[in-house]
């Protein structure tokens, strides 16, 4: 039997010091992050103020960006930013949540298990681990998409996606041109290639977070559903997905934020034309792309206008995040039902 002194002893001096130091360090860094965010916002607002005074709200409602005539307005960019992000979010969510379900609900493992069963290796000490390993490998591969640099996505879009979708787009425009979505012809960079690449870029965010929240659903809920006679699909759609919905929506909001701010790939793919069109094949422009394109050679006078545009982008992102947070609260509460 160890004595009382051996089991519990007061922390040594060095332990107490490191403890305090570590706490101070963490606190310091937390404040630093917050302060940096505030400084960035303040700097942008201060730099934008002269342009805000000069151009006012007309800046948000006009269609023309002409440095030669000193006429600046960004409605097409605001439209393009929101349109491309929403479209990418729809595509990205559909694929991302489906992939997360496939990976989290054991479909992959089941398929591999069935394959192993054919050769009767399903309980083999080495091969038997395969189902889980394949699942992990696939989810890692999807997360790897997030590691590809944006400019590589842009080049890939230019040289692979655009030539690939061109024939389909021509056909859609020629035969179904009366639908506004296909109203113009694709002539290289435009909304559709941008949306395709953007949705692939936000896919890892959605999949990773959705898979995490699906895995976090307690298995007793599933078991209970099965016990009540639910089929697998019924269990997924009536129990698992609603329970995980808060996490999934959180992932979607995060992905939307990323889509709004994505710069390089969009600057290369979206066509950078000040056009407001619902057509998927029309070139468009986004705020982030405009900033990336105009900043390098901007004269001091133009910088103020660009800062105004940056401020608008900041406000849009902020609004989306706040709205997203509220939506997560309400929808999740609704879907999860009453807490027992």
């Amino acid at each position: 039997m160890p004595s009382e002194a051996q089991i519990c002893k007061p922390p040594t001096r060095s332990q107490a010091v490191t403890d305090t130091a570590f706490r101070a360090l963490c606190q310091g860094f937390t404040w630093l992050v917050a302060i940096i965010a505030v400084i960035i916002v303040l700097k942008i607002v201060v730099a934008a103020l002269p342009a805000v005074r000069q151009y006012g709200f007309g800046f948000l409602s006009g269609h023309v960006w002409d440095p030669h005539k000193k006429v600046y307005s960004i409605l097409p960019e605001i439209w393009g930013t929101l349109y491309s992000s929403v479209l990418a979010l729809i595509v990205g969510t559909a694929f991302g949540v489906a992939a997360a379900l496939f990976l989290a609900e054991g479909f992959t493992a089941d398929a591999v298990f069935a394959l192993l069963k054919i050769v009767n290796l399903q309980f083999h000490p080495f091969w038997g681990k395969f189902p889980v390993q394949v699942e992990n490998l696939l989810s890692n591969l999807i997360e790897l998409l997030a590691a590809i640099p944006s400019v590589v996505y842009g080049l890939w879009g230019l040289f692979v996606i655009i030539p690939l979708i061109r024939p389909v787009c021509h056909w859609l425009h020629a035969d179904l041109g009366w639908i506004p979505l296909f109203g113009t012809n694709l002539s290289g960079p435009g909304m559709l290639p941008a949306v395709i690449v953007l949705s692939i870029m936000i896919l890892p965010t959605i999949t990773a977070i959705a898979r995490g929240s699906l895995l976090a659903v307690p298995s007793r809920l599933r078991m209970a559903a099965y016990g009540l006679g639910a089929t697998r699909w019924e269990a997924i759609f009536a129990v698992t997905l609603p329970t995980a919905s808060r996490g999934i929506f959180g992932g979607i909001v995060l992905a939307f934020g990323r889509a709004l701010g994505e710069t390089m790939a969009l600057a290369m793919l979206v066509g950078n034309a000040n056009v407001i069109s619902v057509s998927l094949f029309s070139p468009a422009n986004t705020l982030a792309a405009l900033l990336a394109n105009a900043f390098p050679e901007a004269s001091p006078k133009d910088v103020g206008v660009l800062m105004y545009a940056a401020m608008v982008l900041l406000v849009i992102t902020l609004l989306v995040n706040v709205a997203g947070a509220y939506m997560v609260q309400f929808t999740a509460a609704e879907l999860e039902g009453e807490k027992v």
Partner: protein, 345 residues
């Protein structure tokens, strides 16, 4: 989980040691006595970095940093005195020069041409009249078999497809020089969209950078776009022959570009443009790019290195330019610039 105190302390210690050793590594890497910092135009970046590399290899005590941040921000850093020299494709405006108390010496050290590259299946050679190429970029000439194009290309089978015009999306010196030329030859273009880094083009899809325009033209049949001569050469893109002021159709080349440069009579400040050269065998769109130096440098050693560097570039350095697709300065001009180098003190 409780992290043992000693491991945390060890981590902090390691990090500190790491930082200190990094700081130590800094100064030892720059054994250089003189270190020049520059930034600016991206168009001459490949040739500048080649020159600076060759020069600092030959002079062990000199280190030259050049960041291609764009002409606009180059001029800005030059006015703010955060650099030792800068570079600009647009030279400097008199107002900008007035803001530099130490005096400005602009040195045109190299030049380039802007070409129209196209992708029309089956068309190997294309001659464009002034009417045709201004019309294309104004959106008036819409199809490849427009009479304005057909007239100057007898025997060429031009398709009836729509011309897909590709322009630069980002603000750039290339666009500035190209629109300056178009404004010089067309009153309509001068009124709108006009001479600018990033004008409101009435037509076309926009791509980012030379590489973006090249990619769009390459992958979209029926397109035409403007890019730098050096870039077009390295990518082996087809280049259109353009009609110059004398009515000749001239293909872009070192010789025809130099002919255009030679028409410029450089004034005292060495800022000269040839928006529309008159000589018979001159390619119509060629331009200098400038190195910006202070006339009075606080550090005499830096001034000496700058003078020496400029002299090297104006003599042996010029031999490097052609391989990279730049235009070597005509001899008479190089002599004139060399004399101006002495103003850097």
């Amino acid at each position: 989980m409780r992290i043992p105190g000693w491991s945390l302390a060890a981590a902090v210690l390691l990090a500190t040691v790491g930082m200190i050793s990094c700081q130590k590594a800094g100064p030892s890497a720059e054994g250089a006595d003189v270190r020049l910092q520059g930034s600016g135009a991206s168009f001459p970046f490949p040739i500048y970095s080649k020159w600076f590399k060759v020069y600092s290899q030959a002079h062990q005590n000199v280190e030259i940093d050049y960041q291609s941040t764009g002409s606009g921000s180059g001029v800005k850093s030059f006015i703010d005195k955060t650099v030792d020299f800068a570079a600009s494709d647009k030279a400097m405006t008199p107002a900008e020069i007035g803001r530099v108390a130490a005096g400005v010496q602009l040195l045109p050290l190299t030049a380039g041409a802007i070409v129209l590259t196209y992708n029309v299946p089956g068309v190997k050679e294309l001659k464009l009249s002034r009417e045709a190429y201004v019309g294309i970029f104004l959106g008036r000439v819409k199809k490849w078999n427009d009479p304005a194009i057909v007239k100057t290309n007898p025997g060429v089978n031009l398709p009836g497809s729509v011309i897909n015009v590709v322009v630069r999306a980002d603000s750039s010196g290339t666009t500035f020089v190209f629109t300056q030329h178009l404004s010089a030859i067309s009153k309509e273009f001068a009124a709108s969209p006009g001479k600018n880094d990033m004008p409101a083009w009435p037509v076309g899809t926009r791509s980012k950078g030379n590489e973006g325009v090249t990619a769009s033209v390459q992958t979209t049949p029926g397109s035409i776009g403007y890019i730098e001569y050096g870039y077009a050469m390295s990518q082996k893109m087809p280049m259109a022959q353009l009609e110059n002021k004398s009515g000749q159709f001239i293909a872009p080349s070192t010789a025809s570009g130099q002919a255009a440069l030679a028409t410029m009579n450089l004034p005292e400040d060495l800022i000269g443009w040839a928006p529309d050269p008159e000589v018979k065998d001159a390619y119509p769109i060629a331009t200098f790019t400038w190195l910006l130096c202070y006339k009075k440098n606080p550090d005499p050693r830096k001034a000496e290195v700058l003078r020496d560097l400029a002299s090297y570039i104006l003599t042996d350095g010029q031999k490097e330019s052609e391989a990279l697709g730049y235009l070597p300065l005509p001899d008479a001009m190089a002599t004139k610039v060399k004399a101006a180098v002495q103003n850097i003190q």
